[in-house]
Amino acid sequence: MNALSRMARDTMTIARRDFMAIVATPTFLIFLLAPLIFIGFGMVGGMGGRMVGKNADSKERIYAVLDGSTARQFAATEKNLRDLFRGDSTPPDLILVKPQNHVEQQARALLAQQDRDVPAVLYGTLERPIILRHDENSGSAAYLAEVAERAARDRAAGIDRPLSTPHFVDVKRAGSSIGGTSATGVFAVTLLFVLTLMLSGQTVGTMAEERSNKVIEILAASVRLESVFLGKLIGMFGVAMLFIAFWGGLAGLMLLFVPADAFAKIQEMRPAIGLPAFGILFLAYFTMAYLLLGSVFLGIGAQASTPREIQMLSLPITIFQMAMLGLASASVALPDAPISLIARIFPFSSPFAMMGQAARSATLWPHLVAIGWQLLWVAASISIGARLFRMGVLKSAGAKRRWRRKRDREVAATAP
């Protein structure tokens, strides 16, 4: 058996043990279902927020104190203008009120209502409207002014119906829109980051078990430390993939229940490289990000001798990950800036930055180069981690090379 296949065998033995030791425990169920807590609280918070928002919206009104034909003209123009707005940007409902003797006092009273929010009230004429407002930057006040302007123009021109009858033709985009690829890039980088943040940090404490129960001595006597490190990393990666498969499957099922208009928005997110290649690259870059960051955290965590030391490491680890997200985000936002190139080359931000690149560029070969480069760093990180462990914990240098062993033999043979 050659060294490589033996290393693979040893690595998989360690990985299998670690994977089974984690998955076959009740704690794993808590780990697997932990996002439910996040989703549950998110939903409760979201629903609460929406209800508060809706409540506030339903209590917001704008008023126009007008009568007769002026009021009718104002209402017709306002209806046409309101159709241009969608969703949250829609102005508050307009209430038309007949003027009384003291119009200004009436308008001020409307603005000062206590049972609902009234950001603006219009009175006067269409040509010279007076608009009361609480805030000089009030969009509602500007909206009332614009309605008055258009209503005045329509009345002056004698227009009482739309002059143009548009015919809309839906044409599907041949390629990806800039906005679509950018949104895809941001979404993919964020998802990649969140998954890596949640899962790779767990590798930091994996050597602690072996150190505390002294199994490390048996492992160190049986297999190369590099196999131990890589095996532990792969075992944890298997757990991470199980987690992703579970939640990915659930997310896929939930897509069946997404409303058609929301699904259309999801379909708008088209990566430049194409969806199948993008999916494969996402998996590849998740693997790379996990192995790269995981190997660093594993190497650092292996130096810690107590759970307290491991806990203390969680903050710098999170900060390091946030820094990588910052680099990758800058790369997505400024794809042609030098920072983008740095983010793609720096090994620990490279998977994130390259994911962003996959969203906006159809060229495949840079990804092959990047994955090769990242793999090289995975190997280097594991090797450095194992070396530090050997020196710091086992108090030994690595195995001697063949020429050193030969020289030592010769020296010993000539010794008295």
């Binding site: 065998r9 040893d10 030791a21 129960n213 002294k214 049986s222 001697k400 030592d408 043979a413």
Partner: protein, 305 residues
């Protein structure tokens, strides 16, 4: 005719923080032998064993294990029970043994079958599915030993295998060691309990202060000290000390002294003529314990105690 060696080490040196913990140790372990590495606490036994196995690298010197100068390359042929016992507490016994076998190249299925067989042979037939955390210390130690031999290694290293075991489990462990030797394995074990070394070892070496102080058979070690005489007189009157050799000491059972170079006969004649008579007489070779104390130095042994 030279004996074929399973292990050969020359001039092994290891320094920790500038201190030479192992200082030029040579070892030659014949194939098929049970070889003991004896020494007081802190003598450098464990460090020596770890160097022999390639867990740590020597700062100087070299070793050849089963013909290979890189012990890691032949680790599938080696079994190892470390001084600090290590098992995963959440594992079942048979899985723990199978895992250790898998680390040495056995497939898990064969491992599990062998694990159950070995446990039955070692009197642990009731425990294959028990979790390690539920075992007594002695049982856990036996499980770990089984894990270190499940792959039928040609070379077995046991670091202080008897420490912490009750006499029943010590006996079981001795039987296991002998069975492995009978299978053809070479066994190297460290201990500071002389009784085990005396019963088991074909050859042994004594290490103290990082240096090798003795190498040979148990008989060679015991031969370092002269024969001792225990003499019980009929009449133990005042002038008997003048007849006995100068090193004679009165003990509970009688007088103990070194066998004179010219033999015991002349002395016995003088004692009988003086009317002391002979109630009891034994001439015995000192045990390994006394030899060990002599080799290592009484001061070191007292420090160890």
């Amino acid at each position: 005719m030279t004996q074929e060696l399973a292990l050969e080490a020359h001039g092994l040196v290891k320094k920790f923080g500038g201190k030479r913990v192992v200082d030029g140790i040579d070892l030659s372990v014949p194939k098929g032998a049970i070889y003991g590495v004896l020494g007081p606490n802190g003598a450098g036994k464990t460090t020596t064993l770890r160097m022999l196995l390639g867990i740590i690298e020597p700062d100087a010197g070299h070793r050849t294990l089963m013909g290979s100068d890189s012990p890691r390359e032949i680790s599938d042929d080696v079994g190892y029970l470390p001084e600090e016992r290590g098992l995963y507490p959440g594992m079942k016994c048979k899985d723990a043994i199978a895992f250790m076998g898998a680390l040495r190249g056995l497939d898990w299925k064969t491992d599990r079958t062998r694990a159950v067989e070995l446990m039955e042979a070692a009197g642990l037939g009731h425990a294959p599915d028990m979790k390690i955390r539920k075992l007594s210390k002695g049982m856990a130690q036996l499980v770990q030993l089984l894990g270190s031999v499940v792959h039928r290694p040609r070379f077995i290293v046991l670091d202080e295998p008897f420490s912490g075991l009750d006499p029943v489990n010590q006996e079981r462990l001795e039987q296991l060691v002998l069975a492995e030797r009978d299978r053809g394995a070479t066994i190297l074990f460290s201990t500071h309990i002389m009784a085990h070394a005396e019963r088991l070892c074909d050859r042994l070496c004594v290490i103290a202060g990082g240096k090798r102080r003795f190498e040979g058979t148990v008989a060679d070690a015991r031969a370092i000290l002269p024969m001792r005489v225990l003499y019980e007189p009929h009449h133990d009157s005042g002038d008997i000390a003048a007849i006995l050799p100068p090193d004679a000491r009165r003990e509970a059972e009688g007088w103990r002294f070194t066998l004179p170079e010219e033999g015991i006969e002349q002395l016995l004649v003088r004692l009988i003529e003086a009317g002391h008579g002979i109630s009891g007489l034994s001439i015995e070779r000192p045990g390994l314990h006394e030899a060990f104390v002599e080799i290592v130095g009484r001061k070191t042994v007292e420090e160890m105690a």
